[in-house]
Subunit: 251 residues, 2 copies
């Protein structure tokens, strides 16, 4: 009998050309999952992913679903797939979901985190998972500027060209900036994000932290809907998709 299985997947994106399968032989997260699940079930499986993260972007809880006739219980796929996946992709949870559940169309809240290593010299262990910045950062100003993002706004100015979307309006539920030792983390929760939106928010807040953009200006920068008003796109390696919470799954 056919069932739909949902996976929550953690990965370090460093070695991959992003989530989405690419023409040619390039390694992608989606491709590795398809291969592992197909190898396990003997079916030809193509997962549907929630977020098509870019090359170099990481995840703690990206979501994917697939349909299978396998007799393996939904919650056992995690263990079986982790035997077949490389160490930089680890399924954190698997479970059966309704056959109507679609990870991209279902209403959800996504949380992303952007990590900045802020000290005199880089640290080897963060070389692929944080952006390095050696100068002073005024975290209080970054926090103040961050508040301007909360709410429902047209984020046309915080979007890289090339994306096809019906609307550039998104709702941000929360944006936090925290320092712990040498690490500055920007955590943002919303009902969806435009292409490169979190990396542009991070790059803009970094300009605020450096003192190059006054925090009071953030509201008008957002309202301008002009990409040129916002800061640069921060590097992919600092970005991590933390979690996706679906109303339909009550978690």
């Amino acid at each position: 009998m056919m069932k739909r299985v949902m996976l929550r997947v953690a990965y370090e994106g460093t070695r991959y050309h992003g989530w989405q399968i690419q023409p040619g032989d390039m390694a992608t997260i989606e491709g590795m999952l398809n291969q592992a699940i197909s190898g396990l079930t003997g079916e030809e499986i193509q997962v549907i992913g929630a977020s098509r993260t870019d090359a170099g972007v990481h995840a703690l809880g990206n979501v994917a679903v697939f349909d299978t006739e396998s007799r393996i219980p939904g919650e056992k796929f995690s263990y079986a797939l982790n035997q077949r996946l490389p160490e930089d992709i680890v399924v954190q949870e698997s479970r059966e979901v309704s056959e109507e559940f679609h990870p991209r169309y279902e209403k959800c809240r996504k949380t992303y985190e952007y990590t900045i290593l802020n000290r005199r010299f880089p640290l080897p262990e963060y070389r692929n998972t944080a952006m390095f910045f050696y100068g002073g950062l005024d975290v209080e100003k970054m926090r103040q500027a961050g508040r301007a993002f909360v709410g429902e706004w047209d984020f046309a100015g915080f979007c890289s060209a090339g994306a096809q979307v019906q609307t550039t309006v998104r709702r941000i539920y929360d944006l936090q900036v925290e320092r712990g030792g040498d690490i500055v983390r920007i955590r943002v929760e919303g009902n969806g994000f435009l292409y490169n939106m979190v990396r542009i928010i991070a790059g803009t807040l970094l300009e605020v932290g450096k003192g190059k953009i006054p925090p009071e200006r953030m509201g008008e920068i957002i309202a301008s809907r002009d990409r040129a008003q916002a800061g640069p796109t921060a590097p992919a390696k600092g970005l991590r998709l933390l979690e996706i919470r679906y109303d339909a799954l009550s978690c």
Copy 2:
């Protein structure tokens, strides 16, 4: 004029066959430093390291010295060398020291940290820098057992064969076991460590945490000086040399 320069070096040991230069063409931390410094100064430099960490072991502050006639000021070597080193080796500090300063013979305190990722599934970002363990760990028992190590003892039972040392007596100043979320850290400070000593301490405390060795037995296990009484040698990748403090450098 000849001067002696000291480096504090951070590295992720994953890609290297340990600190010490090996026969053949294998990449080592020492070899990479020699190459970078020689390339910079035009001299043929061979560093002297404080701790010859094993393959897969990491460091935040291993120490090395070299003698040079270069006019580059001691404190500028860090910046210049980081331009020439790969991203997984980063000089954190450089400075001129007395010509008599020898990083292995000088009196010092070394601090090592052993990291255990303790949760249901591994996390990709810790795959090279922590040991993974999914079962329950009683950190309070580990802490209790850890206290037995503090003091001056003959650690013959916490030493892998093959090392040539005059004495197996070492002094442990402090041993802490802390849990923060999914991470359990064992931090140990001593005046020196035998071959694999911290990894055997970690492996033994892990047996305590699992409930396989009662914490009250730790004193007699140390006193037995019998390797077979202690636990297994924990994997290299969880070990990190945090810092070496020299009396002669007052830091």
